[in-house]
């Protein structure tokens, strides 16, 4: 789509939205993650107690924990969909869940 958005800000945001922009963000993110792990090795840990002090000695612990746990979160949540997901009109008509869809359907017919 080659339309030019009206706002200057939109045009700036469009740069991020392009395939090249996304690729760039990926690389920046990877570099930033690597840098953070490297910096983490050298900084003093004066603000950690208990467990915080223990895990601070593991290089990149917070990064690994963040990556693994958030990936687990998504995978478990997606699996939960099989059990929990129902159609939008499950509670209809005593709910707002399907009101927009209903309205759309009424206006199109």
């Amino acid at each position: 789509m080659n339309e030019q958005p009206r706002f200057l800000l939109s045009r700036l945001l469009q740069r991020i939205d392009s395939p090249l922009g996304v690729k760039r963000i990926c690389y920046i993110l990877l570099v930033a993650c690597g840098l953070l792990v490297a910096i983490g090795l050298f900084i003093p840990h004066h603000d950690a107690y208990g467990m915080g002090a223990i895990v601070a000695r593991i290089p990149g612990f917070y990064g690994i924990y963040g990556f693994v746990m958030s990936a687990l979160l998504v995978i478990i949540a997606k699996a939960l969909r099989r059990i929990l997901m129902r159609s939008e009109d499950y509670y209809a008509p005593r709910t707002i869940d399907n009101e927009e869809t209903q309205k759309e359907r009424n206006s199109s017919t």
Partner: protein, 558 residues
């Protein structure tokens, strides 16, 4: 003598219908919070405006550090919400908003339990009109469910207060010394409003049902009032640590698969409340300060996120993730404000969430709640995933939905801009906020390890998002609802009740059938006598016979 601030709101609500609709009324609406704020903002701490009722002293205005912090943020939020709703011409919503804000401030400034109870109930009644303001059948029923839960909370509170006053003779609202039956009732009452696990469904049910502006107002008061009440009544109650950890954890799974982005925000509201409840449960000065700071920052960034989604709902007509995408082309300013809100809730350094959440995490670690600490860390990574990335990504980027709409009206942009400014301002200069905290604790959020570890947690979790997205594992938005514990009272209970009622009816019919047959026979015989088959005439005849019989009896009895 100082006037309790809530009176300004109530007086404002009375006068409001006389103010002509339009800019005049909108100005009036945003001036009321400012006027009320001037009443307490420089007032020395103490108790004001007390009254005697049936031998009990009611304290309508008690100002201490805890009440001050909550009153201040409620007032700021009330002003911002009024600005955000500047274009609204709906008198019902305007009056409901004024009363709701006023009584919520009244509740945190109430010095005794009887006054607290009155305001507690009033928040329920005033706020339900914001749900009904959507004016659809679905919103009516949703509002009813919401009201039932709020009333239940009020009833439990009333029962608990009566027992408490009976046992102790004091109606002062201070920390409950021991956890007896009365205290448990009160705790449950607070727990419903605070959306404890299994008592939480009203929140995710009702908040997305309100209007674009109404949800912003709803998100501010009720739950934070409950956090305040917990911090006042039950600081250091250990059970709250685990309840809070559970609250921080389970909503995030729902948030990942939820389609309605305003409901995603409601889930994240619940998750953030979990952090605050953990802080109350730990109960050390650092933890309680953390709860107050987090509540303060949370009101702002949550309002900002709900504002941005409200603007999307107003302009694009929906907040369903499955229908949205590419909105940055039409609403770039809203996009930026939403991203600032998302960065704040994700606790990025230099944003408000960072300087508040770390207090609670540090406190949990310091007191040796290792498992809870890991859980909160997980919840922090999670909140970035489903709220920090998912909300802006699905609404404003992702695939282009083709929706081309206008940017939000100026007043919405102004309200969002001011709120975003506060989020960043507090994140960069946290000291003024730390200065009003109830306990003098010197806390330095910006240390090298804090910043680096938090950034590690967040950026690696962003990396996970990117990997999952590119592999197509990340769940797409689907038109759907997800079952929760509310299925008990929305599906099963009605079904059981209907079945039970049906069975009872059938049973009664089956045992009375022979009887009815007999009586019909008798009546038919009489009907034959008077030539009229069991009509109203038969009834009249019998009434007449009975009356004559009674008359005869009374005559004879003389």
């Amino acid at each position: 003598m100082s006037i309790p601030p809530f009176l300004f709101y109530l007086a404002g609500a009375l006068v409001l219908p006389l103010v002509p609709k339009g800019a005049m009324r909108s100005l009036f609406l945003s001036l009321v919070p400012v006027l009320a704020l001037t009443q307490f903002v420089v007032l020395p701490f103490g108790e004001y405006a007390s009254a005697e009722l049936f031998g009990y002293t009611l304290i309508l205005l008690r100002l201490d550090a805890l009440a001050y912090a909550f009153s201040l943020i409620f007032s700021i939020a009330a002003f911002l919400a009024a600005l955000f709703a500047w274009h609204i011409r709906d008198t019902t919503q305007q009056i409901a908003t004024l009363i709701y804000s006023g009584v919520a401030i009244g509740a945190v400034q109430a010095g005794d339990l009887i006054t607290l109870f009155c305001f507690w109930e009033a928040t329920a009644f005033a706020s339900v009109f914001l749900v009904w303001a959507r004016r659809t059948d679905g919103a009516y029923f949703t509002g009813m469910r919401y009201l039932i839960f709020q009333m239940l909370s009020g009833l439990l509170l009333l029962a608990g207060i009566i027992l408490h006053i009976n046992a102790t003779g004091s109606n002062l609202f201070v920390q409950f010394p021991d956890i007896n039956f009365a205290a448990v009732l009160i705790l449950l009452a607070f727990g419903i409003k605070c959306a404890f696990p299994l008592l939480h469904d009203w929140l995710q049910d009702a908040y997305p049902a309100s209007t674009p502006t109404g949800t912003v107002v709803l998100s501010v008061f009720t739950t934070k009032l409950a956090v305040y009440a917990l911090a006042r009544g039950f600081p250091g109650l250990e059970a709250l640590v685990y309840i809070g950890a559970l609250m921080a954890l389970f909503p995030i799974f729902y948030a990942v698969i939820e389609n309605d982005l305003r409901r995603v925000l409601a889930f994240s509201l619940n998750n953030q409340l979990g952090f605050m409840v953990v802080g109350v449960g730990i109960g050390t000065p650092l933890a309680l300060n953390g709860t107050v700071t987090h509540a303060f920052c949370h009101v702002l960034y949550k309002a900002l996120l709900f504002m941005s989604m409200g603007a999307v709902l107003l302009r694009a007509g929906t907040t369903k993730g499955s229908e949205l995408g590419g909105l940055y082309k039409s609403m770039p300013y809203t996009t930026v404000f939403c991203v600032i809100g998302a960065a704040s809730i994700s606790a990025f350094p230099l944003f408000s969430g960072f300087i508040s959440k770390s207090l609670i995490l540090s406190a949990a670690d310091k007191q040796g709640y290792t498992l809870v600490w890991f859980a909160l860390l997980f919840a922090s990574a999670g909140v970035f995933h489903y709220c920090g990335i998912k909300i802006p990504y699905f609404a404003f980027f992702a695939r282009d939905s083709g929706i081309r709409c206008r940017e939000a009206p100026w007043n919405m942009l102004l309200a969002m801009g001011l709120t975003a400014l506060l989020c960043v301002g507090i994140g960069v200069f946290p000291q003024p906020l730390y200065n009003i905290l109830p306990y003098g604790v010197s806390y330095v959020p910006y240390t090298a390890d804090h910043v680096v570890f938090q950034l590690q947690l967040l950026l690696f979790s962003a990396l996970a998002f990117m990997v999952l997205m590119s592999k197509g594992i990340y769940p797409a938005g689907l038109r759907s609802v997800n079952l929760s514990s509310d299925i008990v009272y929305r599906k099963w209970l009605p079904r059981v009740l209907l079945w039970t009622w049906g069975s009872i009816e059938q049973f009664v019919v089956s045992i009375t059938a022979p009887l009815r047959r007999e009586s019909r026979q008798i009546f038919r015989n009489i009907g034959v006598v008077i030539g009229n088959e069991h009509g109203s005439g038969v009834m009249l005849l019998w009434v007449g016979v009975l009356l004559v019989f009674l008359l005869a009896l009374t005559y004879l009895a003389r």
